[in-house]
């Protein structure tokens, strides 16, 4: 059965070529296949990202409306973080089984708080009757001196990275370093905790505090917007870890036409996974659990210290986890774009996507 990536590639990339002679194809800077599309509106650039969350698939059917709103918003904003862009506007397509006023009131209050926190305006949308589904479309602009989250210096100008001045999946070069922000495995751990399936596979004592942390990591993942915008002009490629570290690494590798070598021993493990007796499972969660919403990015070796410094400025831990290679150097392993090294590390069979 086709994966989501294959579906998009096969069926929904028709506007990426100019084959159909669309009048506006020339004004699309980045089309289908990155974290956000980048459009040229007159002389301005606009970034657009859409995400759908389906009840029972992306969150449990009994999830609280407050949690659904924050998860849907933050997951979408994470796409903007991966582009190093500044979110500004939001449309909401909300499909609801019934007009539950209490549900709507809680969802709306949570969404309003999120919008205020991240400086986003809800500008439109559609409400329909049907199975509970939330689709957000976030729009925003590339970072500029004015919108820079890290540089208060008014004379600061964003280094020109590409025409749209945003991070892409396709810019990684042989010799670049591979980095990841924060820690890995929390998305999968939270998912297991919430669905309580973990008890079947592992003994896993966690404290109430860790339980709260994981709940927050799942329902209000922090979009790394400040880090993303700080990386514009520094990182050669970036993506957010949503599908799973290996799956997202493959997106970077294939779109940049390079190979990535990751060092399993260097991967930053979320503290809640430390008490998990099944280390194979812990590694699986880090490698393919997804839903971590950290930034995975590549940087020219010469800019190593820049990353160290800007991570400190932004206040987000960043860890060097691998290196980029030219595929020609790896003839023997042709076909495998992401290599995993480290003591006893192997790729899990299943990459990305967990469903309820």
């Amino acid at each position: 059965m086709a994966s989501e990536f294959e579906i998009i590639e096969q069926y929904f990339s028709f506007s990426n070529s100019n084959a159909l002679g669309s009048a506006s194809a020339s004004s699309t800077v980045v089309g289908v296949g990155d974290d956000a599309a980048c459009l040229k509106v007159g002389s301005e650039h606009l970034l657009v990202a859409t995400d759908t969350l389906v009840s029972g698939v992306h969150f449990p059917a009994d999830a609280e409306p407050v949690d659904i709103a924050s998860r849907a918003l933050n997951v979408n904003l994470s796409d903007f973080a991966a582009m190093g862009a500044v979110p500004q506007w939001l449309t909401l397509a909300l499909t609801l089984p019934d007009n539950n006023e209490q549900w709507l009131s809680k969802f709306s209050a949570s969404l309003a708080r999120g919008c205020a926190k991240y400086g986003v305006s809800l500008v439109g949308g559609d409400t329909t009757r049907g199975p509970l589904t939330v689709t957000f479309t976030v729009m925003g602009v590339p970072i500029t001196a004015r919108t820079s989250a890290v540089n208060d210096d008014p004379s600061f100008t964003v280094p020109s990275l590409n025409s749209a001045n945003c991070l892409r999946r396709s810019g990684a070069q042989a010799g670049d370093e591979v980095w990841v922000s924060g820690s890995l495995g929390k998305g999968a751990a939270a998912l297991q905790m919430i669905t309580q399936n973990h008890t079947a596979r592992a003994s896993w004592p966690i404290t109430d505090r860790q339980r709260e942390n994981l709940h927050a990591a799942f329902y209000a993942p922090v979009p790394q917007l400040r880090l993303g915008s700080a990386l514009v002009g520094v990182a050669s490629a970036a993506i957010d870890v949503s599908d799973g570290l290996l799956a997202d690494a493959e997106h970077i590798a294939s779109q940049s036409k390079v190979m990535l070598e990751l060092n399993g021993d260097a991967l930053p493990m979320h503290p809640a996974l430390a008490s998990l007796s099944d280390t194979v499972l812990a590694r699986e969660w880090m490698l393919s659990g997804g839903d971590d919403y950290e930034l995975f990015f590549t940087v020219p070796e010469k800019d190593h210290n820049k990353v160290v410094m800007l991570a400190k400025t932004v206040g987000v831990t960043c860890t060097l986890i691998g290196k980029v290679f030219d595929p020609a150097e790896y003839d023997a392993q042709y076909g495998e774009r992401v290599i995993l090294n480290g003591d006893g590390w192997t790729k899990p069979n299943e990459k990305g996507f967990k469903h309820f």
Copy 2:
């Protein structure tokens, strides 16, 4: 139970005020509550409209993928027609119960044709697993001399209507004429034909040709984009007839703070309704059936002839169906924003929205 309009008004209008201090509220020219939002991106204006179609609610569960794609796209483009704006880009959020390749192939081909026809590029989206739901977000720009669909004269400049140069729901003035494009009742007639419920209420002989016309009216409604853009600078307010003539007239009346008097005898009936023996039902379909995707607009009396001429240029029939009044003149009928006159015409109890 709250209606869709009440839900939006009550729960999702929080960014319309600047109460939350959102950084970007000032860059939202039109927010929640019009056919499309209008945003200011740098020095440019951007229009955004979102529409969701749910299987079994907005189209029958057994509808063909070709039809679902064209209906979803055209309904969304109709919002742009109502703003007099030029659609350029599209994102698709597609929720599917399974990866049916044949379904995807047909849906994708139909969408590609629609995009080519209307000059729209598919720039991004999300595909997820779940109950069949299609959400389109169309983005575009206000009409300019360059994009004008009716004026080939390169010296043509669009008359300045408002800061965003697009049609709004809120500009109708006492004394204006009320017009509607095309014919009414076809959306409801098609819906009845498709669901075959009409047999229970009426004897209704229609030809195979009429059947085909109604099928097309439902699954590929023609967005009145050329008419909409021609009306920029002429019409004082506009909306597309999606919820039902009376319901949409009320949107114009309440947002313009005026009263509308409609003449039932003047309403243009779709030819397929002529053979319907139940004239009460035919009138109900015209008044509250919805899904007609015609433009309902108001025009200053002095510009009557302009409408006649531009309708001819664009090739769309436009009919004068009423007049705009100051609510103060109608003290006796306070509370009713839309008055329906004409021989034996009365408002049906139910306004707007039909579900499967």
